[in-house]
């Protein structure tokens, strides 16, 4: 009696009818080869099952390892706000520092004569240093730099005079120059002496 391999495999898997089962069992009793083949299927099924379980286990390990590798970067991802706040704060701090430096540079230096005079204890030195403070304050108030002082109109009367501008590194100062040698004052004793 010949049992097909397909039938034998289905018998092994329990997917045969009662009649087919009786045929297979009769063959098993009569033909040892069929029994050996059935046992081979059993071993093969065990192997496949073990191998499948191993694959499942391996795939699980792979996924787990992937997750493990993915988790650290996820853990390193910080919220966006602290980074933005950090850079914005640093930028503002740098800008504030720059403004401070520029303002300190733009402030006019204290007059060189004041310190020595103060050491000498001269009262005039106090007046000079006090007068230098408005210049510093004015320098801060002048940002951005305003236009220079301008002479809008001048009436020299009967005298001669000129108007010009003296330019320096820090300012442009208008000057009204009026020599008065031609007409001495009546009570200008000093000039009378010089004449």
């Amino acid at each position: 009696m010949t049992v097909s391999r397909e039938l034998l495999m289905r018998y092994h898997d329990g997917e045969v009818s009662d009649e087919e089962a009786r045929v297979v069992e009769a063959a098993l009793e009569q033909e040892p080869r069929v029994l050996e083949e059935l046992e081979a299927y059993s071993e093969l099924g065990s192997f496949v099952r073990v191998w499948g379980e191993a694959r499942v286990a391996d795939s699980f390990d792979i996924a787990d390892s992937v997750m493990q590798k993915l988790e650290p970067p996820i853990a390193r991802v910080h919220p966006l706000w602290p980074r933005v706040a950090t850079w914005v704060s640093l930028g503002v701090a740098i800008a504030a520092g720059s403004v401070l430096v520029v303002r300190s540079w733009s402030a006019p230096p204290v007059t060189p004569g004041a310190p020595s005079a103060m050491r000498a204890g001269q009262p005039a030195a106090l007046a000079l240093s006090a007068a230098a403070v408005p210049e510093v304050s004015a320098a801060l108030e002048e940002e951005p730099k305003p236009p220079p002082a301008t002479i809008e109109s001048v009436d020299f009367g009967v005298n001669a005079g000129t108007v010009f501008v003296v330019s320096t590194d820090s300012s442009e100062t208008p000057v009204v120059w009026m020599p008065d040698d031609a007409e001495p004052d009546e009570d200008d004793g000093d000039r009378s002496e010089s004449l």
């Binding site: 980074r83 706040a85 850079w87 914005v88 704060s89 640093l90 503002v92 701090a93 504030a96 520092g97 403004v99 401070l100 303002r103 006019p108 230096p109 004569g113 004041a114 005079a117 005039a124 106090l126 007046a127 000079l128 006090a130 007068a131 403070v133 408005p134 210049e135 510093v136 304050s137 004015a138 320098a139 801060l140 002048e142 305003p146 220079p148 002082a149 002479i151 809008e152 109109s153 001048v154 009436d155 020299f156 005298n159 003296v166 320096t168 300012s171 100062t173 208008p174 000057v175 009204v176 009026m178 020599p179 008065d180 040698d181 004052d185 009546e186 009570d187 000093d190 000039r191 010089s194």
Partner: protein, 172 residues
């Protein structure tokens, strides 16, 4: 979070330093301080004023009076034609509309300063004139527009083997 805290601390520190520096620089000058010849007449408030610095320019090889302070214009022509500058007077004249202030110059003439207008918070239009002792006008009218801290100069009047240099600076 730690970075944000450090950055915030740095920001606060920078702003604090800046604010301190600005307040230190912008601190108003002390009023009524003793000093030069005319410092007994300071402006007691923080209104606009004209600080009149009267210099005597000569060629007597005395150098530049240290009380003058920083005045780089003296190193430029025609002021550089004189090697000696001495402070004769320093007066602070309050600038108020309809309230002219008169200052007697060392040569006997009088300088009159009047505030005409305040076109801006730190700018003024003022007039200046110089009259002779006999009442005649020497410089009938001079109108100047200037900001706080700026100056203009009236120079050339003869005085004791030299000239007078009148520096008028707008201060607050």
């Amino acid at each position: 979070m730690r970075r944000a805290s450090v950055a915030c601390c740095a920001l606060l520190a920078a702003l604090t330093v800046q604010g301190y520096a600005i307040s230190a620089f912008a601190e108003p000058p002390p009023s009524g301080s003793a000093g030069g010849p005319a410092q007994g007449r300071p402006d007691s408030d923080q209104n606009l004023a004209a600080e009149v610095l009267i210099l005597h320019a000569t060629n007597e090889k005395k150098g530049i009076d240290p009380r003058i302070g920083k005045l780089p214009e003296l190193g430029k022509p025609p002021f550089s034609n004189y090697d000696s500058y001495q402070v004769l007077d320093r007066v602070r004249l309050p600038l108020k509309k309809d309230a002219p202030h008169v200052l007697k110059l060392p040569n006997g003439r009088t300088l009159q300063v009047l505030l005409l207008d305040e076109p801006g918070p730190n700018s003024v239009r003022l007039s200046a004139s110089i009259n002779r002792p006999n009442g005649k006008e020497f410089l009938p009218l001079l109108e100047v527009k200037a900001h706080v801290g700026q100056a203009f100069i009236v120079a050339g009047q003869s005085h004791k083997k030299g000239i007078l240099v009148v520096v008028i600076r707008i201060v607050r």
